[in-house]
Symmetry: C2
DNA sequence: CTCAGACAATATTTATCCGAGTTAGCACAG
DNA sequence: CTGTGCTAACTCGGATAAATATTGTCTGAG
């Protein structure tokens, strides 16, 4: 539902939101800080620039920085920047729901639920509490911190490939 | 979000709900009626049997029939039968949300939104209004009727392969 | 450093196929 | 009328294949 790309984008944005205002960070430094692949990070950040969430600075000391206040960036905007628009409907968009099948109505309701849930959260809120406040029970890990857990349906916890390859600091 | 497999399962179940009570239908006949591939239909129906939504009858005149009242079958159960459990959370399941990061809280809220939206709809409701009541505007098509539309993010309408190959009646 | 892709690797979804087993229908011999 | 054998139509549990999507890398130009 939320892809690994969207999660990485969120983590990068939280990192930038926590940084000093106006600080320009390069994809390489963000990737190093988060323990992820620089090439992949660059790609993800590009889609955030394209969506207007980030602004890029060219040149030798270039990189990216937040283009809006973190209170103005919703989780919906982040997810849509990475995954594209939340599916409109499972029938084509039709204004008058009275004439559609019941399944269409259910699909619209589902989409609205997802959009509402994602819209309620902002980058500011995510950055205010970016990590667990205590040690998680058992061998649970927090994905915002960097141990990837499979989020496939019925997901079993596994290390992502990038985790295996990229040395964490 | 809702895969093509889940959609096909829903269409098959609506078909069975509309049929007479207790009627056993074979995958081949359901596939023919819905204009889909018999082999794929058989596979989809097997997962519904496994989930207890349908019951199978062996033998020459075998097939499937509803195992519960249609008012007791939720859209959530159908989707989970096909796609697996709606992702628990993007961190491992943790009861005490007070100690998790904000993103975890958002993820749990998102999952709950999806589960709630899907739980609100039953097979009975979907079967009560299985088709649009009027001709849809433009060249829009209803997926419950059988013209597949791409539901990928930013989806553009396309014919599914099975639609191209299987002659509709 | 960014950018815009192209490309590659991996994973998931869609779809088919197969052998073993179950059940019913039918032809035929007795 | 009964028993037998064959055939056909089904289920089941996977394995396999094709198509699509996601993750991740690379390159040249700026």
């Amino acid at each position: 539902m939320i892809t690994k790309t969207s999660l990485l984008a969120t983590r990068a944005l939280v990192f930038l939101a926590e940084a000093e205002q106006g600080v320009v960070a390069s994809p390489r430094s963000i990737a190093a800080r988060l323990g992820e692949s620089p090439a992949y990070m660059a790609k993800v950040l590009r889609s955030l620039v394209k969506a207007g969430i980030l602004r890029a600075e060219h040149g030798r000391k270039g990189g990216v920085l937040l283009n809006r206040r973190s209170s103005d960036v919703t989780l919906l905007a982040i997810v849509e920047a990475c995954q594209g628009a939340i599916a409109g409907s499972y029938c084509q968009d039709i204004d008058d729901l009275r004439i559609t099948c019941a399944f269409h109505k259910a699909a619209v309701e589902l989409r609205d639920s997802v959009v509402n849930a994602l819209s309620r959260w902002t980058l500011e809120q995510l950055a205010a509490s970016p990590r667990p406040t205590k040690r998680l029970p058992g061998d649970a890990h927090c994905m915002m911190v960097g141990f990837a857990v499979s989020i496939a349906p019925g997901g079993a916890g596994t290390r992502s490939r990038s985790q295996k390859r990229t040395r964490r600091r």
